[in-house]
């Protein structure tokens, strides 16, 4: 288990990861930086807050905790966190989306040890996580499975099949985190497909649910700790976030607060990096 950072250190780490997200997507010339930025605090807490046990030198360790990024388009945050954790280098992830690079546009577990699932077709990660959780229980392996989903992704019916099945098997070793950043490809989630009381709906499926501000590290750390302590039912954290959190003033100058599926042009990237350094 890597050493747990304290709150101040976690916030600084999240800031470094945000800078990497901007740098690698701008270098790639494509990608989903804002979808990554909303999720950065949760991913940072998981990898550096003492919640996940993992060893970058032994990524197949059967006892490792699992993190599955079901919203695979946000992989810049995963690659950046894993580079900070020592799975690979910053130079490596600068090859994001380039021909021949295993740091593909969506996670590909065949090419990158430490990636737990090949995602990108939305809706499948929670089910895959159930498979890991069931296997862990059968083998008494003691690991915990974390799955991050998007709020737009939660329009997929399979997500709700998975919520129901995890309740049936009382998977206390499974935690779903919904990165509720409020936007999907063409607009606000409320306008495209309003999921309303998402926390209440998941709770009605038999899950322990917490709702937090997912961009406030204190709340993220507290919620992950509380989820870990629940042993007899699956746990969900509805993390209310802002898409592009960390560089919102820069995005505001573009008039596009969704800024979905496109990198920052170089001039804006410089402003964003300056903002994050300021």
């Amino acid at each position: 288990m890597p050493k747990a950072l304290n709150l101040a250190e976690l916030k600084a780490k999240a800031n470094e990861i945000r800078k990497l997200i901007i740098r690698i997507t701008t270098e790639a010339g494509s990608g989903h930086p804002t979808s990554s930025l909303s999720a950065t605090d949760v991913v940072t807490a998981l990898y550096f807050g003492g919640f996940m046990k993992y060893d970058p030198a032994n990524p197949k360790d059967p006892g490792r905790d699992r993190f599955i990024l079901s919203k695979g388009h946000a992989c810049p945050v995963l690659y950046s966190a894993m580079a900070e954790a020592g799975y690979f280098s910053v130079d490596d992830i600068m090859t994001l989306r380039k021909l021949g690079s295993p740091w593909e546009g969506h996670p590909n577990m065949k090419r990158l040890p430490g990636i737990e699932a090949s995602t990108g077709s939305l809706g499948q990660g929670l089910s895959i996580g159930i498979g890991h959780a069931l296997a862990g229980r059968m083998d008494n392996a003691g690991y915990h499975v974390y799955v991050m989903l998007g709020d737009g992704e939660s329009g997929e019916g399979q997500v709700w099949e998975a919520f129901a099945a995890a309740d049936k098997y009382k998977l206390g070793n499974l935690t779903a985190i919904i990165d509720r950043n409020g936007y999907q490809q063409t607009g606000a989630t409320e306008d495209v497909l309003d999921l309303g009381d998402l926390a209440g709906k998941i709770n009605s499926f038999g899950w322990h649910v917490q709702t937090i501000d997912g961009n406030q590290m204190e709340e993220v750390v507290d919620a992950l700790g509380a989820a870990r302590d629940v042993k007899d039912q699956p746990t969900a954290i509805v993390a209310n976030t802002r898409k592009g959190y960390g560089i919102l003033p820069v995005l505001e100058t573009t008039g596009d607060l969704n800024f979905h599926g496109k990198p920052l042009p170089e001039d804006l990237a410089e402003k964003a990096l300056a903002h994050l350094s300021g």
């Binding site: 065949k110 699932a117 499948q124 895959i128 498979g131 890991h132 959780a133 059968m138 099945a165 049936k168």
Partner: protein, 341 residues
């Protein structure tokens, strides 16, 4: 009765009521045996005691697909996730990532058609060691009708890189195929049927994935078949033999990777090929054999299959007759193809 034993009742499946022959394979002197789904279920149950990594994931049709005996023997290793095929397949992907050997069985149509993207992304693309099993394949399921008939499944499964696709012809072939796919490292699709079929391998079987079995030899033409239609091919060969024409019959149980050497040899040595399968015309065994022959040794070919239509409800034998899956149609196809040599 042994714990793993299953028996589909008589009257299910491919019994012909309207003709002088009663079932595919009768003209060739074969006797009616088990349904291939029964042979699959029994073998799976037996393997379950030897291979603790085997688990099943079911969408509430285990008593139809015959994973039920395994589930009763190994309740802690059998997961019925309800009527949710997408979830079923992706859960299997996760289990496989942790070293389990998940056997995922449903009706062929619901497994391949409903959960195709989950098979693509949770199984095929990450090369997960998941064993897909589609039961109730073909139109011979009968009265339940077209919504339950898996006739696109082989085409869909073959389209996925790295997936081995197996369509066994009888109980012994299915038992051997079940063992082979469990031993194979990588994603597989095994197709089984609902009704009783003729026993072909009464004297044992030498089964190897990707290797066709020569059931009869001859130089007049070659019939390449799989599943239920292997028995029909043997009927056709028997009829043609009475006329003095010896045809080669290949049981092409593995559609992917297909036995290219056997196809090329059949083309070169017999000069004409008929493909018979209980599947739609496009994308099944016929397409695979035609692509292979076209590349290696082009010869005239004919195809006996469901065509480019959906079938209907009805008794299995009547359906097989109406939609052209009979020994007589194979004989006619052989005559046509030989005329084109």
């Amino acid at each position: 009765m042994p714990a793993c034993s299953i028996e589909t009742p008589a009257g299910f499946g491919g019994l012909f009521r309207r003709k002088t022959t009663m079932y595919l394979g009768e003209t060739a002197g074969l006797t009616l045996g088990k349904a291939t789904r029964d042979a699959f279920g029994e073998t799976l149950c037996e393997l379950g005691g030897k291979r603790p990594e085997i688990v099943t994931v079911d969408a509430d049709v285990g008593n139809s697909t015959r994973t039920e005996p395994f589930a009763l023997e190994h309740p802690g290793r059998a997961f019925n996730v309800g009527i949710a095929e997408s979830n079923m397949v992706s859960i299997a992907g996760g289990l496989a990532a942790c070293g389990k050997i998940p056997v995922v069985a449903s009706f062929a149509c619901f497994l391949l058609d409903n959960a195709f993207d989950q098979i693509r992304m949770s199984v095929a693309f990450p090369e997960m060691n998941v064993k897909l099993v589609g039961s109730h394949a073909g139109i011979s399921i009968g009265e339940d009708g077209p919504s339950q008939m898996g006739i696109e499944d082989v085409a869909l499964a073959c389209s996925l890189p790295g997936v081995t696709v197996v369509v066994p012809s009888d109980a012994a072939c299915t038992a051997a195929a079940t063992r082979a796919v469990i031993e194979h490292q990588g994603p597989t699709y095994l197709r089984v049927g609902r009704g009783k079929v003729a026993d072909i391998y009464t004297d044992g079987i030498e089964f190897e994935l990707g290797k066709a079995i020569t059931l009869r030899d001859g130089g007049h033409a070659t019939i390449i078949a799989n599943g239920l239609m292997v028995a029909g091919a043997l009927d056709a060969a028997a009829t043609l033999a009475e006329e003095g024409h010896d045809v080669r019959v290949l049981d092409m149980h593995t559609v992917k990777p297909v036995d290219e050497a056997a196809v090329a040899a059949a083309a070169r040595e017999t000069g004409a090929i008929v493909v018979a399968e209980e599947h739609l015309h496009h994308g099944g065994l016929g397409s695979v054999v035609a692509q292979t022959a076209a590349a290696l040794a082009p010869v005239p070919m004919e195809f006996v299959d469901v065509g480019d239509v959906y079938a209907e409800s009805g008794d299995p034998a009547g359906l097989l007759e109406k939609y052209g899956l009979t020994s007589e149609r194979i004989v006619e196809a052989v005559r046509r193809v030989v005329g084109r040599k």
